[in-house]
């Protein structure tokens, strides 16, 4: 079979395009689901922070975190079914341990620092979550590092510039932004 240089060029472009699409699909296929789930958690949780009393806020976050955590575990298991490998299964376990340890460090930090108000407490948790998010990004999908940095910057701006509206800021820009980004990535792919 003889093919012309232009046909060869087309074939090489098709190969490159499929390789890029595969890399992108694998790295993004699960990330947008996590963004939507945790965006919804933030949206409801931070709205509760603004409108309800301390006791209700505590229960709301507890329920939301358990729900978000459970859905994330289910999503993680589902994702590993599409592309699987022995090393992938080992990485999945390490990632689960990483988040558990990060959660314990965050809890310890809150105990040591004893935040003076809800905003400070929320900001410490956000910073720990974003450290985890960026670490995952560096490991699995570099593109998501930028989302993590963006959300961190938005959170810090809200914390320092609009402290009285911090919860609403985080609900709509943080949570809402994550939901929007999640659906955007889903549609784009």
């Amino acid at each position: 079979m003889n093919i012309s240089p232009s046909e060869a060029e087309e074939a090489l472009q098709a190969i490159q395009s499929m390789m890029n699409k595969t890399k992108k699909a694998i790295s993004n296929s699960g990330a947008y689901n996590f963004l939507i789930v945790w965006g919804a958690v933030w949206l409801v949780g931070f709205l509760a922070n603004h409108f309800f009393d301390a006791k209700t806020i505590g229960y709301t976050w507890m329920v939301l975190d358990i729900l978000g955590g459970a859905i994330s575990v289910i999503l993680g298991i589902r994702m590993s079914r599409y592309v699987r490998s022995p090393s992938g299964r080992a990485s999945g376990k390490r990632i689960a341990w990483f988040w558990l340890i990060l959660f314990l460090y965050c809890f310890s930090m809150i105990c040591v620092v004893s935040p003076v108000d809800g905003n400070q407490m929320a900001m410490i948790i956000i910073l720990f979550v974003m450290i985890g998010w960026i670490a995952m990004g560096l490991l699995l999908s570099v593109a998501s590092v930028w989302w993590g940095l963006g959300i961190t910057a938005l959170s810090l701006i809200g914390y320092y510039v609009l402290p009285e509206f911090f919860s609403l800021w985080m609900a709509f820009l943080g949570g809402g932004g994550m939901i929007f980004l999640g659906f955007y990535i889903r549609k784009k792919w």
Partner: protein
């Protein structure tokens, strides 16, 4: 030496191989995931996979996961080698322009 491969060069099979060699050496991909990635029908993908399997370029692993039949596909060692040679052949044709 760069060898042009007619089996792999067919458009869909070229895309299948490109997707599979992008995965790690130990990784295998679910049939439905590959179908959605390539935007082809079940029948079309199945036919091309059979051809590639017969040539020894891919491995097909059928099993039951939670009582449901699932098919996983991966590039064989031979398939990766042949694909790389095919790409090298295409590049050499392009350079000769």
């Amino acid at each position: 030496m760069a060898k042009f491969n007619e089996t792999i060069h067919q458009t869909v099979r070229l895309q299948i191989m490109a997707a599979l060699v992008t995965l790690g050496a130990e990784e295998e991909v679910d049939f439905t995931y590959l179908r959605d990635l390539l935007e082809v029908t079940d029948g079309n993908l199945g036919a091309h996979l059979r051809k590639l399997e017969e040539s020894g370029y891919i491995k097909i692993n059928k099993e039951f996961v939670e009582r449901k039949p699932r098919t996983f596909i991966s590039a064989s060692k031979e398939g990766r080698k042949i694909f790389n040679e095919h790409v090298a052949a295409l590049e050499s044709i392009l350079k000769s322009k």
